[in-house]
Amino acid sequence: MTRVRIASVLLGAGFGFLLSWGQFIDPDRIRDMLLLRDPYMWEMFATAVAVAFVALRLLKRARVRSLLTGEPVAWSTAQPERRHVVGAAIFGVGWAVSDVCPGPVAAQVGQGIAWSVPLLAGVGLGILLSLRREEAPAKTQPASRAARAPGPVMPASNPD
């Protein structure tokens, strides 16, 4: 478990460093991206997805095993549901208003940006509201229905 924690921190540190270097943490940079005034972020994003998309398929084809789990590199995918559209639309509004998304918020905290504090508090509250909404139907389900449909409300393939 300790090795997993150390690896996770190191991967996150690399991620946070790169977000900072690319100035993702600057709301004006994100605003320029969303107003289609600066192609930088779009080019970066497309490159990252394309590189990972190709490499993951090569890893899978070569049956490479994960270093810490020993399992073959693999992933599950989900079909689109209503929550993916509704949730993403709500997220998109928050992203456009603040010009910051969750990764850069964490990197802003690391850089000591004071305005990240109220934003981070809101993110935590929003996650708590989402968790409570997920839990609510399970509590109000009739016993017979709950017995027929056990298990988590959200699919296990959540990538978050």
């Binding site: 490159t47 997805v49 810490l68 709500i90 456009a96 010009d99 508090a121």
Partner: protein
């Protein structure tokens, strides 16, 4: 080239792609940040007994920001906080940021990921759910940004 200047977008994209790949090679997991924040919320509210790997990933992101700040010698951040501090008073900015944060946290958790989890990790796996979510939040954010620009 110094750390205070952005690298070529294709170089930075390649490096971020390597982080996504490394998460699979090392942990067999998909990168994601809002999931890490959710781990902390679940731990604090007694919904889980221990922090998951994503929470430690977020700890690393915070550390990466700090490391960058120390090595660069200055923040990669212009004065204020974008359009908000140019148009609103400080107290109101804080309120707007809390409300925006609620939308970010609630929406990303409901959609199963943010720009990292759905946008980078999910799209790289070819998940249709992630592609749908990513297209939706990007289109929404672009539309809302133009609406904000029209009113400010």
């Amino acid at each position: 080239m110094t750390l205070l200047h952005r690298p070529d977008p294709f170089v930075l994209g390649l490096l971020l792609g390597v982080v996504v790949i490394a998460a699979f090679v090392v942990l067999n997991e998909r990168v994601g940040v809002v999931g890490g924040f959710a781990d902390f919320v679940e731990r604090v509210t007694g919904r889980r007994s221990a922090l998951g790997w994503k929470a430690w990933f977020v700890v690393g992101v915070v550390g990466g920001g700090l490391l960058f700040r120390l090595l660069a010698g200055a923040p990669t951040f212009r004065h204020g906080f974008g359009w908000l501090t140019r148009n609103l008073d400080g107290g109101l900015v804080a309120v707007v940021l809390v409300v925006a944060g609620v939308a970010i946290g609630y929406g990303a958790k409901t959609a199963g990921g943010c720009t990292s989890g759905n946008g980078l990790g999910g799209c790289a796996t070819g998940s249709r759910a992630s592609l749908t979510a990513t297209g939706t939040f990007m289109a929404t954010a672009i539309a809302v940004s133009f609406a904000i620009k029209a009113f400010t």
